[in-house]
């Protein structure tokens, strides 16, 4: 068994936010262009009043799934621990907040729910009976700045091993283990007039941090963000500096792809995050071969949602073409890697 491919509708955020395509349009676009079979959505993006959805919304979505032949793969829930301004949610409140989304995901037909890092091992343990009742798997997303060796993920792993349930696991986001700053980011800011020297120093700084590996102590996050901001400020990059810093620290992770082996046996779904496809059909910034090798070896056969996030800065590429190219690359690598 091989991993199954798919797409997250999040890849089309520029069109959806720009109101040039409805959610239904985008689901059909995924199906018509052969970007399934897996279909992932973000609840708070795709469904008005999420997670308090009506039976009408449920029926309409299920009809769309039937019409397109796609397979719901994962519901992106959000763990909004900082929902309130006056304080963080209590564990009771956060568990209840997640329960509502798990129930809504099951009603829509999703077998897996993406959960985020504010959910602690204790919270996860309390969510397990709910996952069992609803028969959905819960996966904590491992997204930059986290990584498999981060203490938050290690604590979850330890609890998963204790509980031993197939319904609790991880959702690796491939942007956690990158190898360079995406060339399209640099070329976009070059075109917008950011000096070449600024761009090469941003790249140098990212490469220097990359050599040290992923952040395992969250106190370093502010420090790293400050390093990029100071660099951009010193060089007069203006408002582009903030975007460069947020991306460099929050999107482009430094983990060793081999570290995915730590969580591979507990992986319930994956985000095939990518930014660029080069002339050879490869992803220059995300070492997809190295990542896939780990999961082929672990026998992973769940879904990989292609998640194109170049839309933050890249307004020229068509997400359909990007994801189609990503699927071609994944198929080629999976064929290579599964050869005896």
């Amino acid at each position: 068994m091989s991993p199954r491919l798919g797409t997250t509708v999040y890849s089309f955020t520029r069109d959806f936010h720009g109101r040039t395509a409805s959610f239904e349009d985008l689901v059909r676009r995924v199906a018509e262009n052969g970007l399934g079979p897996g279909l992932e959505v973000v609840g708070f993006q795709s469904f008005r009043n999420w997670p308090n959805i009506t039976e009408g919304q449920v029926r309409r979505f299920r009809r769309l799934v039937d019409e397109t032949g796609l397979t719901p793969s994962c519901m992106g829930a959000n763990s909004d621990a900082a929902l309130r301004r006056d304080r963080m949610l209590t564990p009771d409140e956060l568990v209840e907040y997640m329960e509502a989304q798990i129930v809504a995901a099951r009603r829509l037909g999703f077998p897996t729910v993406r959960v985020q890092y504010s959910v602690t091992p204790d919270d996860m343990e309390r969510l397990l009976p709910i996952a069992e009742r609803e028969n959905v798997a819960l996966g904590i997303e491992i997204h930059c700045h986290h990584s498999p060796r981060h203490p938050v993920m290690q604590a979850l792993l330890e609890r998963y091993e204790k509980l031993g349930s197939p319904l609790l696991g991880f959702i690796p986001d491939w942007g956690t283990s990158m190898r360079r700053v995406p060339p399209s980011l640099l070329s976009t800011y070059r075109k917008r007039g950011v000096a070449e020297e600024v761009l090469s120093r941003v790249e140098e700084l990212w490469n220097r941090l990359h050599a040290d590996g992923p952040v395992l102590d969250d106190r370093l996050m502010g420090e790293q963000f400050g390093m990029f901001m100071r660099l951009a400020d010193e060089m007069g990059a203006g408002e582009a500096g903030n975007m460069l810093a947020v991306s460099a620290v929050g999107l482009f992770g430094h983990a060793d792809p081999a570290d995915w082996a730590i969580v591979a046996p507990w992986t319930v779904h994956m985000h095939g995050k990518f930014y660029d496809i080069d002339a050879e059909g490869d992803e220059p910034a995300v070492p997809i071969r190295d990542i896939l090798r780990v999961f082929v070896e672990s026998g992973y056969h769940g879904f990989i949602s292609s998640e194109w996030e170049g839309w933050h800065w890249n307004t020229e590429s068509d997400p359909v073409e990007m994801i189609a190219a990503h699927h071609r690359l994944e198929k080629r690598l999976l064929a290579d890697l599964s050869r005896p």
Binding site: R19, F44, L83, Q116
Partner: protein, 128 residues
């Protein structure tokens, strides 16, 4: 994200003693009003006091000071909110600068949510 969309094109209207304009949530998903931590506005280069602004979301007007407590009201990602800005005189066109600051509720770092600020400046004609 999408700073250029914060002020929605073609939406400037004249109102008695004010102009109003549609603004967009510069984020990819619905957020509660408690996530909107600041809306800073200048009209023709003059800063407008936050107390004088009104933001209408889901057809209900709010003072900015009312937003922090409203974690029960959601601003859906594809909806516009209408921002009312007091204006001594209404001209044919106005230059507006609006920045929206958001606290991202699922991204607490060291106990405080990540803060995102998106600024947009446009010169718009008052729609007929």
């Amino acid at each position: 994200m999408f700073p250029e969309r914060v002020i929605a094109d073609g939406t400037l209207r004249a109102e008695p003693g004010a102009v109003s304009v549609e603004i967009r949530l510069p984020w990819y998903r619905a957020l509660p009003l408690s996530s909107v931590s600041a809306v800073d506005v200048t009209l023709n280069g003059t800063p407008i006091a936050a107390d004088d602004l009104e933001l209408t979301v889901n057809d209900v007007p709010y003072l900015l000071s009312e937003l922090p407590a409203r974690h029960d009201v959601w601003w859906y990602v594809t909806d516009s909110a209408r921002l009312r800005i007091p204006a001594a005189s209404v001209e044919d066109e106005h230059t507006l600068s609006v920045s929206v600051a958001l606290l991202i509720p699922y991204l607490p770092v060291e106990g405080a949510p990540l803060s995102i600020v998106e600024r947009c400046t446009k010169t718009l004609e008052v729609a007929a």
